[in-house]
């Protein structure tokens, strides 16, 4: 009876929390709302939600600090609600560990799709399979030992860096990965400002795995932010 997914909504706009509470409840979620980061963190500690939706600009404790505190103790998916003009803060929040974002104003369907994707990802769990030597996700099949990659049933040959990039994407399907996060994961912290490296490798990888590299369906560009990987069904 009580296995409804729990969602915590943190926003200082009471009208929006009212709408989200009703909209999400009607879709079978258990929803609680808080008006700022501080109150949100209290609810989070007491209630252990499965997912958090949070605004960025709030009194008392803003969305950034809230994400940081939650991330320090939990891997619960976090979706950010941001307005245009908050790009910098949004990227910062994603770097801190937020999983996704929705730009205001948004339709409830878009938010729900993101909620479902984030929950799916969380349930899949970060370490699935015994020794984690096989990565299977959507159209992709990767053997980490032999470094063999199969896309839609046919084998593709990747350079070591392209292989690393693809496995990083496969480990975080659906999640928005900022330029900084990807650069740090592939080349280490000294290269986090070198976006052009990333563009080149993403371009090459697209040529090898996409059916049409000009309109990619797996590696999707999030303008000014980074990339999102959709493994397909």
């Amino acid at each position: 009876m009580n296995d409804k997914p729990r969602i915590l909504v943190v926003d200082d706009e009471p009208q929006l929390t009212r709408v989200l509470r009703t909209g999400l409840t009607s879709r079978g979620f258990d929803v609680r709302a808080a008006a700022d980061g501080l109150a949100g963190f209290e609810v989070f500690s007491d209630w252990q939600p499965d997912l958090i939706i949070t605004d960025l600009a709030m009194p008392n404790m803003d969305g950034l600090e809230f994400c940081r505190r939650v991330r320090a103790i939990s891997q619960v998916p976090i979706i950010i609600l941001s307005a245009k003009g908050e790009e910098k803060t949004k990227v910062e929040a994603l770097d801190i560990g937020a999983d996704d974002f929705v730009t205001k104003p948004f339709g409830i369907d878009e938010l729900l799709a993101r909620v479902r994707a984030s929950l799916r990802r969380a349930h899949a769990g970060p370490t699935k399979g015994a020794a984690q030597t096989l990565l299977e996700c959507g159209d992709f099949h990767v053997d980490l030992d032999s470094r063999a990659v199969t896309v839609r049933g046919s084998e593709v040959h990747l350079t070591p860096k392209e292989f690393d990039l693809l496995t990083h994407f496969l480990k975080h399907p659906g999640k928005v990965l900022t330029h900084r996060t990807l650069l740090a994961a592939l080349w280490g912290g000294n290269y986090v400002e070198q976006n052009e490296y990333l563009r080149v490798f993403v371009g090459n990888l697209r040529k090898k795995i996409e059916t049409d590299a000009a309109s990619p369906r797996y590696i999707l560009t999030e303008p000014w932010i980074g990339y999102r990987f959709d493994p397909g069904e």
Binding site: E13, Q15, L16, V19, G23, G28, P105, I108, D109
Partner: protein, 393 residues
Amino acid sequence: MLKSHKELLGYGVAVVVICAATIVLRSFGDHVNATTVALTFLLLVLFLATAWGPKPAVLASVLAATSFNYFFLPPVGTFTISDPHNWVAIIAFLLTAVTVGQLSARAKQRTEEAEVGKRQIERLYEELREAFERASHAEALRQSEKLKSALLDAVTHDLRTPLTSIKASITTLLDEVRGRTDGNPMVALDEESKLEMMEVIDEESDRLNRFIGGLIELARIEAGEMHLRRRWGTVDEITSAALQRAEPVTRGHDIEVNIEADLPVVRVDERAVSEVVYTLVDNAAKYSPKGTSIRVTAQRYDEGMIKITVEDRGEGIAIDLRERVFDKFFRATRDGDISTHRPSGTGMGLAIAKGIVEAHKGEIWIESGTGGKGARVVFTLPIEDEDDDIRIP
């Protein structure tokens, strides 16, 4: 080339002037004495030095000494000098002539140099002034661009926030309707939830409308197009109208009204002043806890002025924010550091109130409430004003 040509001309003029002077002085025969001759020559050397520089002056000095000796010192017509006094005279004349020539030439040169220096300083000053003007113009532009973008951000936020709630509500309702018509009801919205969504849409549309109304009012004040319709009225009537309008928001508060007895009637735009009182009462209710009191007072103030105050028992406003809250789109709760939530205003109320009060030639400011607790907003109005229809300057 030009310089040596000019120098040559200088020497020529020196020779001609001294010769001419000698001829003129000789024509007087024995009527001129040696002193007159010496002084005349000195005067000419001085003139030549000033006009043609030091070198022609030296030539003129030597020529003048020679002429003085030959034509005017006895024995006249020879270069010999019999009297030892005349030796002293001729040497003194020569030294004086050379020195005077050099000094005056140098003085002239200094003057010219100073003149050049002065022109240079003037040019430099002019260049600096222009550079400074360009820089300050660029700075002003940059500042105004910054201000514009900050205002745009604020407006965008205020428009987009209600829009977000409206969009989220309407899409939830749409999903429900579509699911039902498709015979695939995946959304379980009960009547109460539907009503709530519609209420949100209604309230947020009103909020957008209020915001836009405020923008228009502000634009009018800023463009100086606000006409005051002044009429004689009592402060009692004005505050009553405002409090009646504010009744829905002040239900949870105790309202205390204290209007000084025998307060004279005032000649103001009643609707506008009532709007000011309403804004202040509305703010007081918004930013102070329910159950606390809001005090509205009116009394005489200075000569020919009355003072109206609205005081709450909330958290008050920090001293450094007390002027900024009158800036348009500034909200102490969001932009400042007041640790209460719920900033539901438009950030325009106080800016409009200030515009109205100043149009009446009054003043508005914020101070701490009684005993240092809460905020007290004070504004003043002149009791009498003879002008009929006043525009905001």
